[in-house]
């Protein structure tokens, strides 16, 4: 399993191909990519703040939970911080498993937990000023469904 927290852009193609090539014995690879929405041109930039140290610990713990819950050959999380423009890739998740059900479920689980349990905070900068993105109730609801299962 690999976890990268960085300011720099990442190469989605190279990361995806490298991940799939390294996942020996896997029959399925799922990747998810998060992209900065430009809100129809209203967004000038997004500023992502994080808590160095806790970020890595929290994501590693989430990845450990996914590995304990599903049979995964491998998993990868890349998450950026700093100033990003609309259309830029913020993060990616990749999971590999023998069959697709585990890879899909684990990828969705990782996304749901990264959303509200990894210490990142997004601020939108636009023509009309700046505002912190508020956490949504449905993000917490998304976590509860994993706790029920």
């Amino acid at each position: 399993m690999r976890l990268i927290v960085q300011a720099e852009p990442f190469d989605l193609g190279a990361e995806s191909v490298g991940f799939a090539a390294g996942a020996a014995g896997a029959g399925a690879v799922v990747t998810f990519t998060g992209i900065v929405r430009d809100n129809g041109g209203a967004l000038a930039a997004m500023e992502i703040e994080h808590y160095p140290g806790m970020t890595e610990r929290a994501i590693a713990a989430i990845m450990d939970q996914a590995a304990a819950r599903w049979t995964l050959v491998d998993a990868l999380v890349i998450h950026r911080y700093g100033r990003l423009a609309g259309g830029e890739m913020i993060m990616m998740v990749a999971t590999a498993s023998a069959h697709r059900a585990d890879a899909f479920a684990a990828a969705e689980f990782l996304m749901d937990y990264l959303k509200s349990r990894a210490p990142f905070w997004k601020k939108e900068l636009g023509a009309e000023g700046e505002s912190w993105v508020a956490a949504k109730d449905e993000d917490e609801a998304a976590l509860r469904r994993w706790q029920r299962v």
């Binding site: 998060g34 996304m111 990142f120």
Partner: protein, 83 residues
């Protein structure tokens, strides 16, 4: 005891600094918040609504009634918005 207190996102903006070393007599997170709020208005503003705040002790999420004994770093921040 002395603890390192760190702030993120709008909590950092309201208080006006990213981190500070605090000498505290508090036994719990809630006690530390009460001491900070008594200091100055900017702290009172930042801690006005605890339902919109989260706390981590030595980089692990915790509750407001958690004890501070042995803790080196306390972090206050709004609900996280990763992904």
């Amino acid at each position: 005891m002395k603890v390192e207190v760190v702030y993120f996102a709008w909590v950092r903006e309201r208080i006006g600094l990213p981190r500070e070393r605090v000498t505290t007599e508090a036994e719990t997170v809630a006690g530390l918040i009460a001491e900070l709020v008594a200091r100055e208005d900017r702290y009172a503003m930042a801690f006005a609504d605890l339902t919109s705040l989260r706390v981590a002790l030595d980089q692990e999420l915790a509750d407001f009634d958690a004890p501070l004994a042995g803790v080196r770093e306390v972090a206050f921040f709004p609900p996280m918005t990763g992904g």
